[in-house]
Symmetry: C2
Subunit: 216 residues, 2 copies
Amino acid sequence: MEKYEAVFKSLLESFQSNSASTEEKNVEDEIPVGVSNRHTHLSQADLNSLFGEGYQLSKTKDLSQPGQYACKETVTICGPNGAIEKVRILGPVRGMTQVEILEGDCYKLGVTTEPRLSGDLKLTNGITIVGPKGTVRIPEGLIVAQRHIHMTPMDAERYGVHDGQMVSIEVDGPRGGVFKNVAIRVTDKSALELHIDMEEANAMNVSSSSKIKLRK
Amino acid sequence: MEKYEAVFKSLLESFQSNSASTEEKNVEDEIPVGVSNRHTHLSQADLNSLFGEGYQLSKTKDLSQPGQYACKETVTICGPNGAIEKVRILGPVRGMTQVEILEGDCYKLGVTTEPRLSGDLKLTNGITIVGPKGTVRIPEGLIVAQRHIHMTPMDAERYGVHDGQMVSIEVDGPRGGVFKNVAIRVTDKSALELHIDMEEANAMNVSSSSKIKLRK
């Protein structure tokens, strides 16, 4: 993960250093990128079951999206064919537990899933989560994250897009290409950032020098 | 790997069943896909060092490209930060040893690499290979496979492309998109097939129902 954290940091710093002049930028602006490994968001009820009643998560690092953070705690996720250990918990707790895996994890776990946006869990598969104090079987909530771009209403206006719109992103470089079906997510409290997972980043060899552009 | 073998098989069968009518097909034809996990090709000298003098590889399965096969034997590859076990050997032996990894393996091994076509090993990094009878340190030959399409001269004529040309491929589906910089490889003894690695396949969610098209 350090590799991607470095990529993210460098791009975030670049974004932050430019943010004062945001309004002068045009739609050719490159978009900062955050790369996710498998991780989970837990409800307080499931956190209680896994770590003990009233347990509070320990933040180790703020993430790019305001209020979101990586935690010290990890869990094991178990499917019918196998388990994956040390799956990072991201805080704060949410209304519903969800587990975001990589497509490449499906075979090891013995599960299938599909790309979904965070929180869109209806009719997704379940999975077993094991923590130090207990085990939870969620009936649904296992997803592969659908690639998406977080932005504020001001960013959306600048790019001429709206919440829920599907766009494409173009990546340069020797392994470059275009990812279609990238969802726009607009909230007042967003930091402009493309979210893709590690397999997507590796397939296009996304690095701190990658130029990533929004295409409608 | 079984998942991808199934994908490949289904697509190969579909291709084979259509091959009688090849000449009637147009450039919109979908291209069969083969998905690779990390693997290695060995020289006889390195095979001797790793498995014993005069060792012969044991074929377990023919691959789609004529004369190529998967072997029973595996090796461990070791970088400065860590090792990956059970890396499959593909036969037959070649003039030079090469190790094809996934971009996502780089961090675990502590190495860097770049997309290269098979056999194009000049100025690539080295790696340590460990077998049951010995260890070999190759001075160069560690690559991430550059995505490519194998085809015969007849296929090349049909698609209007030539050996060494770079094209794009378009993948449909919820995770669809376009991979640029796909190399055309033309030989008399090729089976028409796009070769991508597991991370590339997962990023675009390539499956037996994916429609893959060549774009110039």
